[in-house]
């Protein structure tokens, strides 16, 4: 499977970067072809400017503001997101990537009249979120895992009908130890090597 791994963390030597490497190593063991998109390394600008917002509802693939990202998204059969959970959600940079890159005519079509939007990412049949959280597991459930839901429910609605979902989190990062982190890295690699 062609898998686009979207990575978002400002610190190259962070634990999150190690999680990314474990994920990629697992996916490669399973024989997948990896395309890595590192948003901070690219200096991606997540702020949608006014003219883009004005064009948003009628956006055509030909006018896409990030043709390279659009092409890579279109080529993907699986998507794995690796990011730290900040304020229960996606880092602003990743949220802005969804807003600016997942446009109409690429990921969905808006019908002329009433009715739901039509998904166009039906070539994606694997969607994964691999993250780290400061909060404990129970409180993340109370708040409703907003970041996880944005991707695994919101964006999944634009993917294939039988799109498989994977979610993994290391909770309570501020209390983590070398052991809990090593266990998590091993679990990530193992789980993804079985996909």
């Amino acid at each position: 499977m062609r898998i686009l791994v979207v990575f978002c963390h400002p610190v190259p030597e962070s634990f999150c970067a190690a999680v990314r490497d474990a994920a990629i190593s697992g996916l490669e063991k399973a024989g997948h072809e990896i395309d890595l998109l590192d948003l901070y390394a690219e200096g991606f600008d997540p702020v949608m400017p006014a003219d883009e917002r004005r064009r948003y509802n009628e956006m055509k693939l030909a006018d896409h503001p990030f043709p390279d990202h659009a092409r890579r998204l279109k080529a993907a059969e699986g998507l794995i997101f690796v990011y730290p959970t900040w304020w229960y959600g996606l880092p602003a940079m990743l949220k802005g990537w969804l807003d600016r890159v997942w446009t109409g005519d690429l990921t969905f079509e808006i019908p002329d009249g009433p009715g739901s939007i039509r998904p166009l990412m039906t070539h994606v049949n694997l969607l994964g979120v691999i993250t780290t959280c400061g909060a404990p597991r129970w409180w993340s459930y109370v708040v409703g895992h907003p970041g996880k839901r944005t991707i695994l429910r919101g964006m999944r609605a634009l993917c294939g009908k039988r799109c498989r979902r994977v979610f993994m989190a290391h909770y309570m990062m501020d209390k983590s130890t070398p052991q809990t982190r090593a266990t998590y890295l091993a679990a990530v690699e193992k789980r993804l090597s079985k996909l």
């Binding site: 997540p46 702020v47 996606l90 880092p91 602003a92 949220k95 802005g96 807003d99 409703g144 919101g154």
Partner: protein, 193 residues
Amino acid sequence: MRILLVHAHPVASSFNASLFRMSLDRLTEAGHEVDVIDLYQDGFDPVMSEAERLTYHDTAINRQPVEDYVERLLAAQALVLVYPVWNYGYPAILKGWFDRVFLPGVSFGLVGGKVQPTLHNIEKILVVTSYGGSRFRSWLMGDPPRKIANRMLRATIKPGAPVTYLAHYAMNLSTPETRQAFMTRVERALDKI
């Protein structure tokens, strides 16, 4: 009341921006002291930098890059947020405002790895927002922005303080009547502050 009014929409002619301008006028007329943060107007950069991430937990210096916003947040008695929901979440510019400004030592403390909310100067929150999706579809998706407001923000401010969440869903199918009806709901909520 000292009210911090935060707005995040790039297009001045949008419905959302008109909600923002109406809120500002109405609150000012009611005699409140309104401090406006228009994130697009400010050209706010929502991206937390590597240096900021590395000093995130150092409460002596972590607020330096956003000190002005921190002071205004801590001086407020009420918070009014006017923004659109995009992809079941905040626009990046607003998400980044939370990421960069709601820091340890500002909105919460970390005691033994546990978060203790500290934004007790805020006695009231009003959220005014608009969704592309229907209420049902948003509910299916877990409505993350509603949960963030009603659970996370509620837990961060003064214990027991009210959080009001007003949303116009299905904007793509909205009519002048639905928008006017929503404006009226927002006006009433503003008058209650």
